[in-house]
């Protein structure tokens, strides 16, 4: 059996299990896959819903991904090249990776108030250490033989970064981006549930309050769809670049 066929079989089994469970519990606890997919489809084709909620969440996630990844990348570069920066940033890294998400959300609400800024901050701040660590470690583990070649041939620093470091960091960077995309969405949704007046997280909160399970599960499906889309794009773009 090919990987694609196995993947389809796995998805079908998961939906089957979901359907089986939904028949055995109250509809106030779990919506059936048919109802959830129907609700997700309605959300997708409803232009006003898309602009007000889906687009708002996507924008926040993309913004937090961009801010978090870029900050993590440049801090990681600095820490990889200069051990003093690594040592200096280590306490901050420990604080960010150790703090529970819900505590960070409460702090973000106090600092930024309710709305987009808080959601984007929360999404970005937890991405930074993941990308930062991957980049810093990648730089430190970079194959010294290539760097010696670059030193003998007097390659400029920018060329070394582009031709040696970046391709060596590529695989780790691609994996960490895939990982942080899911995390970013989780955190942005959590922030929206706690303190926003639009976005998929806001819809999730309202659906839960109204016990509207199809909409709640439909929102979850939309979130999954988005994470898969971004993951596929990252894999396609970065892996094509890495493997030529």
């Amino acid at each position: 059996m090919k990987d694609v066929e196995l993947s389809v079989a796995g998805t079908a089994a998961l939906i089957g299990l979901w359907h089986f469970l939904s028949l055995r519990v109250s509809p106030l606890v779990m919506a059936s896959p048919v109802d959830a997919i129907g609700a997700a489809w309605k959300m997708l084709i409803d232009g006003q819903f898309f602009l007000q909620h889906t687009a708002a969440t996507l924008w926040r996630v993309l913004l937090s991904l961009a801010l978090g990844s870029l900050s993590g990348f440049f801090l990681g570069l600095a820490a990889g090249f200069f051990p003093a920066v690594l040592a200096f940033l280590e306490p901050l890294r420990r604080v960010i990776t150790g703090i529970p998400g819900i505590v960070a959300a409460v702090l973000a609400m106090i600092w930024f108030g309710l709305g987009s800024a808080m959601a984007v901050f929360l999404g970005a701040v937890f991405i930074i250490p993941v990308v930062y660590l991957n980049v810093a470690e990648g730089i430190r583990q970079c194959d010294r033989t290539y760097l010696e070649m670059a030193a003998v041939y007097q390659l400029p620093a920018t060329l070394r970064l582009r031709a040696i470091y970046m391709p060596m960091l590529g695989a780790a960077l691609a994996s960490s981006l895939v990982l942080v995309t899911g995390n970013s969405l989780r955190l942005v949704i959590m922030a929206e549930v706690l303190g926003a007046d639009n976005g998929l997280g806001f819809v999730l909160g309202i659906s839960r309050a109204r016990l509207n399970m199809p909409d709640l599960y439909g929102c979850v499906l939309l979130c999954l769809l988005f994470v898969w889309g971004v993951e596929l794009t990252i894999r396609k773009v970065l892996f094509r670049w890495l493997h030529g």
Partner: protein, 198 residues
């Protein structure tokens, strides 16, 4: 006699309790090619690395007036994610336009008879081919000092003769100085002005 372009004096270096150099001296004149031979672990590659500025922790003086060094590494050190032509053009980027760099790299590959493999990545090349790409990269950057560490070890006799002739021609035409590490007496004889065993 030309001025010394490289002077090494009182070089002392030990590795793990083993003394590699103890007051070693070497003078290399402009345009001169020097051969180094000797048993494995005697410090031939280490000496090339010291001259290339890759080795520290030694005592003594290394005074070099060379501005551009090229090094044909024993393990080629081609970047696996670049094609053969991109590897050869790499040291030229920033020194000339991209088109000119690629053109010179193609010419370098033609000289080592690998023009048809220009777009191949190192993983698809044999050991001998990769070694020739390394030689093309070194010659394409028009160095004034050429360091060659067993550059023909993976090549058959015919290619070895061709590349020896090519390097000798480049050295004479461009006044390049060189250091060749080899265990092959014929290579040392045809390329170098004098040879020492260390």
């Amino acid at each position: 006699m030309a001025d010394p372009a490289l002077t090494i004096s009182d070089l002392c270096l030990s590795f793990g309790g083993h003394r590699l150099f103890n007051g070693f001296k070497l003078v290399l004149e402009t345009g001169e090619v020097f051969g180094l031979t000797g048993k494995s672990g005697s410090g031939k590659t280490t000496l090339l690395r010291i001259i290339a500025g890759l080795e520290t922790g030694y005592r003594g003086r290394v005074i070099s007036t060379f501005r551009r060094t090229a090094y044909v590494f024993q393990d080629t050190r081609l970047l696996p994610w670049l094609s053969a032509i991109e590897n050869v053009a790499l040291p030229l980027i920033g020194r000339m336009s991209k088109t000119a760099a690629r053109e010179r790299a193609r010419e370098g590959l033609r000289q080592v008879q690998l023009e048809t493999f220009a777009d191949y990545r190192p993983a698809r090349l044999s050991g001998g081919m990769a070694q020739r790409v390394g030689i093309a990269r070194a010659l394409a950057c028009r160095p004034d000092l050429l360091l060659l560490d067993e550059p023909f070890s993976a090549l058959d006799d015919k290619l070895r003769r061709h590349l020896t002739a090519l390097i000798r021609c480049q050295i004479r035409e461009n006044g390049i100085s060189g250091l060749l590490v080899s265990h092959h007496p014929a290579d040392l004889e045809s390329l170098t002005d004098r040879t020492i065993s260390i």
